[in-house]
């Protein structure tokens, strides 16, 4: 454990935030998507965003990942060439970053996978997008990554349609992490999976995040997911951030009335 920790901290520069969000707002006409969101995400840190349906979590994530253009605010990402505002960046650069430094895990694997392409092709796509042109190497990497997300190597030529929901989600994760991104956006990664599959997926995610020293932003309404994965937590309601802090602190000692409601709503088995 100690050795693993060392390798992570050697990689990251913990002084500088990897992602710095300042005053981000997005309106849909007169309705608020999300309003005045600011936070810093440091290398190797996992940030959870929780809130009820319609609280602006997904809008916020889409703005951060460049899928939506925010109305105001800045999203400053620490690129290899120094900090850059991804909102004002030209689209070509942003899309390049989206397939190298960033990854986006959709709630529904069908949105993130190419269903007509084999598992190996799905994993290899990002490699080929950044210029890999050696079939043998691409395939070897795909086999390696399928193994890391616990998909048997003999399923490499099967299409995702032939996979179960949990396998599809793990395939989507492999496909996203194959280019070793530094920042992963996850939109309800465990939504729609049954609890035992959820548990395995969370276990896997936690392992990968720690092992690769990833930073991640996880949007979910499932408090168990953030309890397991997230270092810090942001609670949203009506487009506003109502509370943020360390995960355990927020969950064990909620201050805002909405957070208290949220925490108390969790069913105890």
């Amino acid at each position: 454990m100690g050795a693993v920790d060392l390798s992570i901290w050697a990689k990251v520069n913990a002084d500088k935030p990897l992602l710095s969000v300042q005053g981000l707002s997005k309106n849909y006409g007169s309705r608020i998507g999300c309003a005045d969101v600011s936070f810093d995400l440091f290398p190797g840190e996992v940030l959870g965003i929780v809130g009820e349906s319609g609280s602006g979590k997904s809008t916020l994530l889409s703005c951060l990942a460049g899928h939506l253009a925010p109305d105001t605010g800045r999203v400053i990402f620490e690129t290899a060439q120094g900090p850059r505002d991804t909102v004002t960046m030209v689209e070509a650069e942003r899309r390049k970053m989206a397939r190298t430094d960033w990854a986006f895990v959709h709630q529904n694997p069908r949105d993130g996978l190419r269903m007509g392409v084999s598992a190996g092709g799905n994993v290899g796509e990002r490699l080929m997008a950044v210029g890999a042109r050696h079939y043998g190497d691409i395939r070897a990497t795909a086999v390696d990554w399928l193994g890391r997300v616990e998909i048997a190597a003999d399923r490499i030529d099967d299409r995702p349609r032939a996979f179960s929901g949990g396998m599809q989600q793990r395939l989507q994760i492999a496909r996203n992490l194959v280019t070793a991104p530094r920042l992963v956006f996850m939109d309800e990664p465990t939504g729609g999976l049954d609890v035992s599959v959820q548990a395995r997926l969370l276990d896997l995610l936690r392992g990968l995040v720690r092992e690769m020293g990833l930073s991640a932003i996880i949007v979910t309404h499932d408090l168990a997911v953030v309890r397991l994965l997230a270092d810090r937590l942001m609670v949203m309601k009506g487009g506003h951030v109502v509370e943020q802090g360390l995960t355990d602190q927020v969950l064990d000692d909620p201050q805002h009335s909405y957070t208290q409601l949220l925490v108390s709503s969790v069913l105890q088995v």
């Binding site: 007509g116 084999s118 190996g120 796509e125 080929m128 997008a129 050696h134 043998g136 691409i138």
Partner: protein, 292 residues
């Protein structure tokens, strides 16, 4: 001879002008798909409405037209289009590749080398090479714009994963001058090397999809591949049974219901010229001088 009810080459002058503008833009940006206002033509989509419009826009009364369909001069598609322009434009027609100034082709490049001044017009069913991988037109346009061509290799990857080799044998994607990825229309990949550095002007017309693109003379065209699975032009491993040619693209012809078959050049003009010059294949019959 010409049918006076129609303007020269069927289309009105304004339409031809619009198509020529698209062609000029295509020539200026090799491999880029230029949208154009494709007209209804008096033939069904899929019969070469795009090619016919490009041909109509390029024809002059002095041109000599050749029309080929899968290499042949005498199949329905070729005969119909040739007759169409004979009637509406009254231009001279020929079957000899060397004599033609404008060649409209469906899915082949003639075996005889093309020369400067010739125009080769392709009929294109689906101009978008990324179409079957990415169904959204907005997205494929963006991918062309930003030169994001990783996806086209996914197609080749899938081929190798499934068949052990790049099994795409026609409409093999190419990269033009290191920039645009282009669908060369469904020509066999045997013809792909002939796309590159051709002295002729190559124009591609897709009528239903309303796109025109072009390869100006001497454009560098590379067929996409993997480092460990290089591009290989392929043909049936036979000689032509009529003219004995070993280097031409062959059609397989079933001759009876006992499994009998023969391989013949798909380019009929090339085959006939060789036969008349005295070349003879395994099943060939000597040609009598002065016609048989």
């Amino acid at each position: 001879m010409s049918d006076q009810a129609y303007n020269f080459a069927y289309l009105d002058e304004q339409t031809k002008r619009m198509i020529r503008r698209a062609i000029l833009k295509g020539v200026a940006v090799p491999g880029y798909q230029v949208p154009f206002a494709s007209r209804e033509m008096p033939m069904p989509y899929g019969w070469g409405t795009g090619g016919v419009q490009v041909t109509a826009a390029c024809l002059t009364p002095d041109d000599t037209l050749k029309v080929i369909d899968q290499g042949a001069d005498d199949t329905t598609n070729a005969v119909s289009i040739r007759k169409f322009f004979q009637r509406t434009a009254g231009v001279a027609v020929t079957e000899a590749t060397a004599d033609a100034t404008l060649i409209q082709t469906r899915h082949r490049i003639p075996e005889a080398a093309l020369t400067t001044g010739q125009i080769l017009v392709y009929q294109v069913p689906i101009p978008e090479p990324l179409r079957f991988l990415e169904p959204r037109e907005t997205e494929t346009r963006k991918m062309h714009e930003l030169e994001e061509y990783g996806l086209i290799h996914v197609k080749l990857y899938e081929d190798i994963a499934r068949h052990g080799t790049i099994a795409t044998s026609y409409a093999y994607p190419v990269k033009v001058e290191g920039r645009y990825v282009m669908d060369p229309s469904p020509i066999p990949k045997f013809d792909n090397p002939k796309l590159s550095n051709s002295p002729a002007l190559q124009l591609f017309g897709a009528g239903r999809e309303q796109r025109i693109y072009a390869l100006p003379p001497f454009t560098h065209v590379v067929s996409l591949d993997f480092d460990d699975h290089p591009f290989e032009p392929s043909k049936a491993p036979h000689d032509c049974d009529l003219c004995g040619a070993g280097e031409s693209y062959l059609d397989e012809v079933i001759t009876d219901d006992q499994g009998g078959r023969m391989f013949v050049c798909s380019d009929t003009d090339f085959c006939r010229t060789r036969c008349e010059a005295g070349h003879l294949g395994a099943l060939g019959v000597p040609v009598l001088k002065g016609g048989a």
